[in-house]
Symmetry: C2
């Protein structure tokens, strides 16, 4: 079965290029139907029974299943997404973001590693089982949604609708692979997210800035509001923000301590001199995994072109994403944030909720976690890092909490893939090795009793 | 002579349209040479002797002169600019910004009222004198620069070069005309300006916002810096900012008290409910004319497109314009601002000076001020407003301070011209009446001894 991957991976690199060349930007409603059709076609060609599940709004969920003939009582439930982040700023890409150009053993494209490579990889794995053994080692159920990058807005509908169908003993989440130093990572959870947009509008049109002495400026109001949200030490100053934070257990802290993190490599990659507040070592790792965050993802007002324009803007806006840890409740925190703004005199500022997801966790001693670690040692011949939860977000809690499926996030990604940034890329060697790993996880899971 | 204007103004409306259709955006280095050539051609056709004065950088100054045969000992020195503000945001215009479309007696175009209408008006006035009397009533010297909207960066060179040439007994500045309620305004000064750009760069590339717990965010730094610059009452908190502010005299305060200001009209025009800090009446007018300002003209960081993107930006920037009153020194204040940033822990924030101009003033009892008021009563049959200094900015201090020429700012603008904003427009009736006024000012000035 692993031999099939070695002999045929180039076919699947081509399939990945085909997928990556199909733009599917959920934030811009670009190419989603086309991408769903393409994924459906690829799954059907592989041997899946496929449905396109329409929801009340938004692109469909591609849902594919393959039944095992010899082992129909074990089921693994897989999650991926076919949508990608916006490619902007396009001028910083060295290849056009939907060209899927190969250079130095890497494929460059928006969405190629997040998360189309994992889709292509899992197609290859299932085909490898079917071609080698004429069967899959267990039942495979696979949901691939098209709104992950905008907060999985309608995915809950799918889960409600397919709740009885989505039964299984373990789950594999969308991403994973190698950390800096090519160390395999077994990720057991995701941070949650609250994504909001602030809008301050003080007039119906922009004004000559000569009037700045008497006409309110929305940019000042936005700046003053934002500055109340995080204190000078980076701690979130919204009342009650940390109330429900689940304390890290001794086991969690031990996993964090053992987790490798190449600080110099990250600094070099990002061109930064220091981490936030000069953090390093264990404290840095603890903050990285354990801390809720308040991030300004976008900020704009007035004239942002070249040269100088003396304008007093009518509107100022900001986008913020808050990463959440167990057991923070995004709906409750959204309310706290609104109350905070009101309390500080910003009740006239519009606060629009864009996305929310609670955090998700799978126990370190679950069967699927142990199998993932064991097979990682086998495939990569390295001790894997156990990541108690990834600092990334996603709707994993639907698997772990709503469906009650212990779920690991493993896959074919590598540390310098530039997810969500210009020049996103997928290493082809990791595509091959990571696929072998995931294949072995499925095989071992199928055998376990 | 006024009859010539009544009979021929349509010819000059066409000339104004031709001028307005030539883009000349100094902030974007767009069409400036072409605009200079067009203005030169129009002045030559009128009867001026014209030079294009090249400076070390930037577009040329158009310098035109007409000698008076009968009255060669009196000279009026005029200033205008042929450059315009950027047209953005273009989507808010009801006609394309360089179409110069006429609708309901108004010409719509970027720069049409600021300040191309005054150029066309003064061409018409000089032609009216020459056609009616075969002479101008006094010598006319006219400098028209191409960088006013970006802070007249190279205009000082011109003034230095032409200092001996630029002699005269009075000056007419670029703009002026009717206030709300069609009240003529005699403006005797301009606020100064300090225009700066802040740039915070914390990394060499944007990062997935999952790293927000450990990677510094430049938008937070920028927000925190900006929030130190102005306090919650809108007062500028930079040390020494108000030290050199010249106190308003009793005469100044009297002029402010007499100045009409239709608060409801401004509120309706801008769609605002209240002025800053709930100001109204005399206090509002005093703030408008007398207060130094700190305006955020532009602000940007990260992802500003539709939907949501979870990015931690590498760069955050802001543009700010500070309006200055006599006797604030922009160079000194730029240093204070830098020191302020350093003192508050922002020494790593880049502060780029984009433009600076001190404020300018001409005495209320100067000859040209009195003539302007008297002829305004005659032409408009209304009591004019004496504006001690306009809240707008420009290099007027080169006339009033460097050359020592008492200067009024009068012209053909109207109150709802939307300068620096979408749908900028010029009322054709005010173009005609304002031209008659400026013509009468020149005539009366030429006669005075």
């Amino acid at each position: 079965m692993l031999g099939y991957i070695d002999e045929n991976y180039e076919t699947y690199v081509k399939k990945l290029q085909e997928l990556a060349r199909q733009p599917s930007v959920s934030a811009q409603n670009l190419g989603l139907q086309e991408a769903a059709q393409l994924v459906k076609k690829m799954l059907e060609e592989t041997g899946f029974h496929v449905q396109l599940v329409s929801l009340s709004k938004g692109p469909p969920v591609v849902y594919g299943t393959v039944q095992s003939k010899k082992n129909p009582n074990r089921t693994i439930v897989i999650y991926n997404h076919y949508d990608v982040q916006p490619p902007e700023p396009v001028e910083l890409w060295k290849h056009p973001p939907f060209s899927a150009t190969i250079e130095d053993g890497k494929i460059y494209a928006r969405g190629v590693t997040d998360n189309k490579a994992n889709i292509a990889s899992r197609i290859m794995i299932v085909k490898a089982f079917l071609e080698t053994h004429g069967d899959v080692p267990c039942n495979i159920k696979w949901a691939i949604e098209g709104e992950e990058e905008i907060g999985s807005v309608h995915f809950p509908e799918f889960v409600r609708k397919y709740r009885d169908e989505l039964k299984g003993q373990a789950g594999i989440w969308e991403f994973g692979g190698l950390d800096i130093g090519d160390i395999p990572m077994v990720t057991l959870g995701l941070k949650g997210m609250l994504y909001v947009e602030f809008k301050v509008q003080t007039a119906t049109k922009d004004v000559h800035s000569a009037r700045a002495a008497i006409v309110p400026n929305p940019a000042w109001k936005l700046v003053k509001l934002l500055d109340t949200i995080v204190d000078d030490n980076g701690r979130i100053a919204v009342e009650g923000w940390y109330d429900d934070v689940r304390e890290l257990t001794r086991q969690d802290l031990e996993a964090i301590r053992e987790m490798p993190l190449d600080e110099e490599d990250i600094k070099k990659d990002l061109g930064i001199k220091h981490f936030l507040r000069g953090l390093s070592g264990y404290e840095l790792k603890k903050a990285y995994l354990g801390n809720p965050t308040a991030n300004i993802a976008g900020l704009w007002s007035g004239y942002t072109g070249p040269g100088h324009k003396t304008v007093l803007p009518a509107v100022a806006e900001a986008k913020m994403d808050f990463r959440l840890v167990p057991d923070q409740d995004p709906a409750k925190l959204a309310k706290n944030l609104r109350d905070h703004a009101n309390k500080h005199g910003f009740s006239d500022v519009e606060l629009k909720l864009q996305a929310e997801n609670p955090a998700a966790r799978t126990p370190v001693d679950s069967e699927i976690a142990k199998i993932s670690a064991r097979t990682a040692r086998e495939v990569f011949q390295k001790e894997p890092a156990i990541i108690i939860y990834s600092p990334a977000s996603g709707p994993m809690h639907y698997w772990t909490s709503v469906l009650g499926i212990p779920t690991v996030s493993i896959g074919v990604n590598h540390a310098h893939g530039s997810q969500h940034a210009p020049n996103e890329n997928q290493r082809i060697d990791v595509f091959v090795q990571g696929s072998k790993w995931v294949a072995r996880v499925i095989e071992e899971f199928a055998r376990a009793r």
